[in-house]
């Protein structure tokens, strides 16, 4: 499973990447939209985990850009508040979202679920 994490909170995203890596997941991270698009262009990712609110663009806007370029990529969203979920569900059609602070086991489970449900590399 190749995963791209995108969140503007550097300490959050770098530590989460380290933890996922300890679980055997091939993970890279970006701290902004431009950074994410550049990294995604260099390697094939099965799944992207996107923060909903980032400077310059929302997670949904980034998802749109990534999905256009990489149609096979799956997405999971991270939100700061549960109240954003209605907006998220209504706008993206995705059921994969988690509220911060996240439970890493739940995140890994959602990753596997997303790939199993829509197809993807072996987990």
């Amino acid at each position: 499973m190749r995963v791209l994490l995108v969140d503007d909170e550097t300490e959050f995203v770098s530590t989460l990447a380290e933890r996922l890596s300890l679980r055997g997941i091939d993970v890279d991270y970006a701290t902004g939209v431009d950074d994410a698009l550049a990294i995604a262009s260099r390697k094939e990712y099965d799944l992207a985990v996107l923060d909903m609110k980032m400077p310059g663009a929302s997670g949904l806007e980034l998802k749109k850009q990534l999905a256009e370029k990489y149609p096979a990529m799956k997405f999971i969203f991270l939100t700061g508040h549960g109240s954003e979920n209605d907006y998220l569900l209504g706008s993206s059609g995705s059921e994969y979202y988690l509220v911060k602070p996240i439970n890493i086991d739940l995140l890994v489970s959602k990753m596997k679920e997303a790939l199993a449900r829509y197809g993807g590399s072996n987990v």
Partner: protein, 238 residues
């Protein structure tokens, strides 16, 4: 007349609550982010300790890095809560003599996260000498916030927004300079609540000479306490 004054107070109260709500929501987002970082670092320590139980050595620098992350986030949360506390206490007095640079800096700090989301940086340029003003602190914070929202809404491409304070011809002028030219209609057709806010503060909102500054002009007659009879939007001179 009593009815009009009551309606006036209601508009100000509703607008004030909306302002309080927006600030509270922004602060809660920031604190959520702090908790998310702390949660991941606590989780990483747990992961490393499980690995150590299985015989994998933990490098001291890993623990030092995690410890550093904890300390940074605790300092960050402390700073957020100090600002929140100062803001919460701004409703303590309906009239107080305040340092305008301090008050402007407080509003800029509160709006920092929302500005960052738009790729906007906020800079408060202090005046050569301190400028104090006797007014309703919370209402003035609300006016600065609303004015900043207008400027940020026009600054779609991001950039630097600067606050400058100056004394000018008997008025105190707080200029909020945008990275772009502001539309002329920015200071016309204001919502009723904003007109009343200006009136309560004896302030007026005008575009500056270059067209990129939104100016809050506080008139010579220092603002009445809420509930006192307020004059129109134009501050009186003299």
């Amino acid at each position: 007349m009593g009815g009009a004054m009551s309606e006036h107070a209601d508009h100000l109260g509703t607008q004030g609550l909306q302002f309080f709500g927006k600030v509270s929501a922004s602060i809660s987002h920031e604190l959520k982010n702090v908790l998310a970082v702390l949660n991941e670092n606590a989780g990483l320590m747990e992961d490393l300790s499980f690995a150590a139980e299985r015989g994998k050595a933990i490098a001291p620098e890993q623990l030092q890095r995690i410890s550093g992350n904890f300390s940074r986030q605790i300092r960050r949360a402390d700073a957020i809560l100090k600002v929140m506390n100062r803001f919460a206490h701004s409703v303590d007095h309906s009239r107080a003599r305040i340092d305008l640079t301090e008050l402007t800096t407080l509003v800029a700090t509160l709006a920092g996260r929302l500005a960052a989301m738009r790729n906007i940086t906020l800079d408060v340029i202090p005046p050569a000498e301190d400028i104090t003003w006797e007014t309703n602190p919370f209402l003035l914070e609300n006016l600065i916030w609303l004015s900043l929202e207008k400027v940020m809404a026009c600054s779609e491409g991001g950039g630097a927004v600067r606050f400058r304070l100056a004394k000018e011809a008997g008025e105190v002028v707080l200029s909020i300079t945008a990275p772009i030219q502001l539309p002329a209609d920015l200071v016309t057709n204001l919502p009723a609540g904003q007109v009343q806010l200006l009136s309560a503060l004896a302030a007026r909102l005008v575009l500056g000479p270059t067209g990129s500054e939104l100016e809050i002009r506080l008139g010579c007659r220092e603002s009445p306490a809420v509930g006192e009879e307020a004059t129109g939007g134009e501050g009186k001179k003299g």
